[in-house]
């Protein structure tokens, strides 16, 4: 056994029993008859047929749509920050990075609840407006923009950090050379920075999108359950409905979308280059 494999073995065992096996169990369950809790029954396609007849596709579309919108907004928000972290901040970049990291360690539903306190009627925002200026507005809580705000807020670091890694891969000399040769800022961005930073940017897109497709807390806490994303459907099937096979079938469909994207993107990348380059 090679030394590498020997070191990798404990992690591979963990991934086999903690990741691969549960997912196989979900796939198996998705072929079990309705409302059973056992893995060993006559397989059936009934759950998938039930999904096709149901309105689950609406939840799927909401999840995909919200994830696309979140990813695009975050790309625009994060690019200038990532650029600044790499090129401008100097000794402060570590402190700024820490400030972006700290919220990651508080569970997302607690932080989203902070937004509820901010946006709710008589909350921090509307209460201040009312007492200082006498303006009474209706709360934006429990609307679609509130859900998007929550998602943008929660997934920001997952776009920012890979993007920063990507931009750090662009050698400053290459940029300077392009400027010296008379390139405009737009040309440098389009033809030097963007292509060279692409691996980090694509990983940021992928990570944000994949996590956002699986989002549930934002729609629950900030959207007041007005929009039901697909993971909420899955959760309902697993909990209230006690129909694990149906929930599993929905989860399998979601896993397909995620796995397709992740494999498509990761296949092309050399991780040594992205993570190891100094």
């Amino acid at each position: 056994m090679s030394q590498g494999l020997r070191n990798a073995l404990p992690m591979l065992v963990l991934l086999a029993i903690g990741f691969a096996a549960p997912l196989l169990a979900v796939i198996d369950f998705s072929f079990m008859p309705e409302r059973t809790f056992s893995l060993f029954q006559e397989p059936t396609l009934e759950n998938y047929r039930a999904i096709l007849r149901s309105t689950s596709y609406i939840s799927f579309l909401w999840s995909l749509g919200l994830a696309v919108v979140t990813t695009i907004i975050l790309a625009l928000i994060c690019y200038p920050i990532a650029y600044g972290l790499v090129r401008l901040a100097g000794p402060w970049s570590m402190v700024v990075t820490l400030l972006f990291t700290i919220p990651l360690f508080v569970s997302e539903n607690v932080r989203l609840y902070g937004w509820v306190l901010f946006l709710i009627k008589n909350g921090v925002l509307l209460g201040t407006l009312k007492s200082l200026f006498g303006i009474e507005l209706s709360s934006m809580l429990f609307t679609l923009p509130a859900i998007i705000l929550g998602m943008v807020y929660v997934y920001l670091p997952f776009m920012l950090f890979p993007m920063t890694l990507g931009i750090a891969m662009v050698p400053n000399e290459t940029r300077e050379a392009a400027y010296d040769l008379g390139a405009s800022r737009w040309q440098v961005f389009r033809e030097v920075e963007l292509p060279l930073a692409m691996p980090g940017i694509v990983i940021g897109f992928l990570l944000t999108f994949v996590l956002a497709v699986g989002a549930i807390a934002e729609a629950k806490v900030m959207g007041g359950q007005r929009i039901i994303p697909i993971v909420h459907d899955i959760e309902i099937a697993f909990t209230y409905a006690q129909n694990w096979p149906l929930g599993s079938a929905l989860a399998v469909l979601l896993m397909f979308v995620v796995a397709f994207l992740v494999i498509l993107v990761l296949r092309r990348f050399d991780l040594d280059q992205i993570m190891g380059k100094r």
């Binding site: 090679s2 990798a8 992690m11 972006f100 609840y113």
Partner: protein, 270 residues
């Protein structure tokens, strides 16, 4: 051109500052809500007070939940760091046949919706007939946190020069000696960061805990249950405590590393 760049620079700095403010709006709101004397939150706060801090910190229920969370996070940290240390060596240090595939496998649990992973593990534990408790939650956390810790430590391993190990071997050191005196100390900062990440990510995790803790309850779960039904200002108190705790741990760790680097710089620059 120079003035132009200066303008862009200030624009980027202002934008970054604005986004940081945006990130901390919820934390500030939680802190405000925890300092009210009344049961329900209205703003501006009619009567300020710290009663809810006292009440929350004295509650037996809260003590139990905190100790469950600490037990889970500590167990996760120890196991994750051990797995991730060797995992990171395989990830970044050794050249071996399956490495590129292994690197991608390690990323998969990170690129996966956590609530779905939590449900899949619930189903898996049930199929195995394992009763749910804080121990199953530790396992569930590991599936996601050990890969993250591996990446954090791998970054340190990438900057590690294998020639150091070889030189020690050439000078007659045993495998154990090389590990104890070269590999481990050189990778220590990475191991520390990995441990810190593991602890904090476990502490703040909700989607995995929700389905896998059974009757035991961790802090984020408890808070969620209270937010949905039975809000008291104890919720923002505990939320604020979590945020401030994470901030103190991270900033303390960062100053420690900076001090250590300053202390060791003159020697390496000689």
């Amino acid at each position: 051109m120079e003035a132009d760049r200066g303008a862009m620079r200030s624009l980027i700095l202002a934008w970054t500052a604005a986004v940081i403010v945006f990130l901390y709006v919820p934390a500030v709101c939680l802190a405000l809500a925890s300092l009210t004397a009344s049961r329900y939150f209205t703003f501006p706060i009619p009567r300020w007070g710290t009663e809810w801090w006292g009440k929350t910190l004295a509650s037996f229920e809260i003590h139990q939940i905190l100790s469950t969370s600490i037990a889970i996070a500590s167990a996760v940290t120890v196991i994750a760091v051990i797995l991730a240390f060797f995992g990171a060596l395989a990830f970044a240090r050794y050249d071996w046949k399956g490495r590129s595939l292994y690197q991608k496998l390690v990323l998969l649990p990170i690129f996966f919706p956590q609530s779905v992973l939590g449900l899949a593990l619930l189903l898996w534990f049930n199929a195995l007939g394992l009763p749910l408790s804080w121990k199953t939650a530790v396992f569930a956390h590991l599936v996601w946190i050990a890969p993250v810790a591996t990446l954090v430590i791998a970054i340190q391993v990438y900057s590690f020069d294998p020639a150091l190990e070889e030189a020690a071997f050439d000078l007659g050191a045993s495998r154990l000696q090389v590990f104890r005196e070269i590999t481990f100390p050189v990778l220590l900062p990475g191991i520390f960061s990995g441990a810190l990440f593991a602890f904090l990510l476990s502490w703040g995790n909700f989607p995995l805990s929700l389905y896998t803790t059974g009757a035991d309850s961790a802090v984020p779960e408890y808070l969620y249950a209270k937010m949905v039904a039975g809000y008291t200002p104890g919720v923002p108190v505990l939320g604020t405590l979590s945020t401030v705790g994470a901030a103190i741990l991270l900033l303390g760790f960062w100053s420690l590393i900076t001090l250590m680097r300053r202390g060791s710089l003159p020697r390496s620059e000689k």
